[in-house]
Every structure is written in structure tokens, then in C-alpha cells.
Symmetry: C2
Subunit: 131 residues, 2 copies
């Protein structure tokens, strides 16, 4: 299977597939003409790479994780990889907390603006009455 077909089967662009190879996530044999040649398992591997990318892991982390996560639905586990995953989960928790803080800070701004608007309306009404 050449790169175009793998792209079609996985939904990844050829650009992405070459990038995965460059980052050491995916390997390909080469035909005598230099074309990349993939076996059927590669479809599975790419699917797994993209799952992990979608969770926010970067390619470095996935490279460490992939030897354990490969092998289709039966993940071969190792203590190291689960540590990586749990570390990433902790980081996601931290990011979520940070976003919540930002949201709260913005909420305070919105609240202040709402109050000001009410006060302004009241002031405007008073001005009208006194005029």
C-alpha cells in the first residue's frame, strides 16, 4: 500500500503521514523506486496515533506510548506508559482548572459591566427627571 491509499483509508493527509514518520511514530518500507510501502497494520497504527493526538498528547509522548498501545484492540500495557497517561491526565486537569479561573475572571468583568450599565441607566433616568 502506498501513502495515498493509506491516507484514503485513514483520513489522514499524506502530509500528516509523512510527519508521523518523521516523528518516529510510523515506519514504512521503501519500494525500489523510493515510494513508501505500508502493510495492513499501518491502518490500525495510524488510527491509534490519531486517537492519541485527539486526546491532546503530542508526538513525543505518543512515540513513548505507542509501542505499548500498538497491537489493535488488545493494548499491551506497561507501567511506563500508564505513568505517561496519568501524567497527561493530571496536566489536562491543570489546564481545565486554569480555564475555569480565566472564565471566573471574565465573569467578574462581565458582572462589573452589568452593574455599571444598571447604574448608568439610573443616572440617565435621574438626569431626565431633573431636566
Amino acid at each position: 500500500m502506498h501513502i495515498g491509499e493509506l491516507a484514503r483509508r485513514t483520513g489522514a493527509s499524506t502530509r500528516s503521514l509523512r510527519y508521523y514518520e518523521q516523528r518516529g511514530l510510523l515506519c514504512a518500507r521503501r519500494d525500489p523506486n523510493g515510494y513508501r510501502s505500508y502493510d495492513a497494520e499501518s491502518v490500525e497504527t495510524v488510527a491509534r496515533i490519531r486517537e492519541l493526538l485527539a486526546t491532546g498528547l503530542n508526538t513525543d509522548t505518543i512515540r513513548a506510548l505507542l509501542p505499548c498501545a500498538q497491537g489493535g484492540p488488545g493494548l499491551t500495557p506497561c507501567a511506563f506508559s500508564s505513568g505517561v497517561v496519568e501524567q497527561q491526565m493530571a496536566q489536562l486537569d491543570a489546564e481545565i482548572a486554569q480555564l475555569r479561573e480565566r472564565r471566573a475572571a471574565l465573569g467578574a468583568y462581565a458582572e462589573i459591566m452589568r452593574e455599571r450599565r444598571v447604574q448608568d441607566r439610573a443616572l440617565a433616568a435621574m438626569a431626565l427627571r431633573s431636566a
Copy 2:
């Protein structure tokens, strides 16, 4: 006040202050020698810019928001700016939801790995016993 002193007073780097100016968030008069010259209000303005940056707003949004948010502790509100803020809050909500999804997906991976590990241990124990 020159840029160095403003930097000292606000905690922003001179690089950042020049960047804020370049993005239209902060304006400075120029001394005859070309040096930027700031008035006392700029300290307040920079503080406000950095508050908003810290909430995750980008400089484009802040530029739209700043004319309303300026003026010290009394924010001058306008319907437009509150719309911007609420839009940003909605986006933060969406990002939080997305991070939660990622976390859940990773959690599923971690769970699979934990189960496999238990099974592996059981298999190893059986192998030991039969040997």
C-alpha cells in the same frame, strides 16, 4: 515616563509594551529624540491589558474591548464589549468541555491498560503454577 520605568512599574517587559503598542492597545507620545513617553494613566492601562490577556483574550479582542474597559476601577461599559466578553466566556466553556472529553478518552485508555495489567499478572501466576 519612558518605557523602562513603565516596565518597572507594571511588571511587563519593554518588549511586551512595544508589542502592545504595535497591536494598538497602548499609545505613547514621542520625545524629540524618538523615545516613547507615557503618562501616569498608562500604568493603569497596561494593568488592564495584562488582566485581560491573563483571561485568555487575544490582543485583537482586547483592542475592541479596551476603550470600554479603560478608565480605572470604574469600567465604562458598552453593549458591544459585554457581547465580546460573553462570547469569550462561551468559548472558554467550549474549550473546557473539549478538555474534559480528552480527559475522558485518556481515562478510557488508562482503564484498558489497568485491566490488561491485571490479566497479565493472572496469566503470569498461572504460568508459574503450571511450571
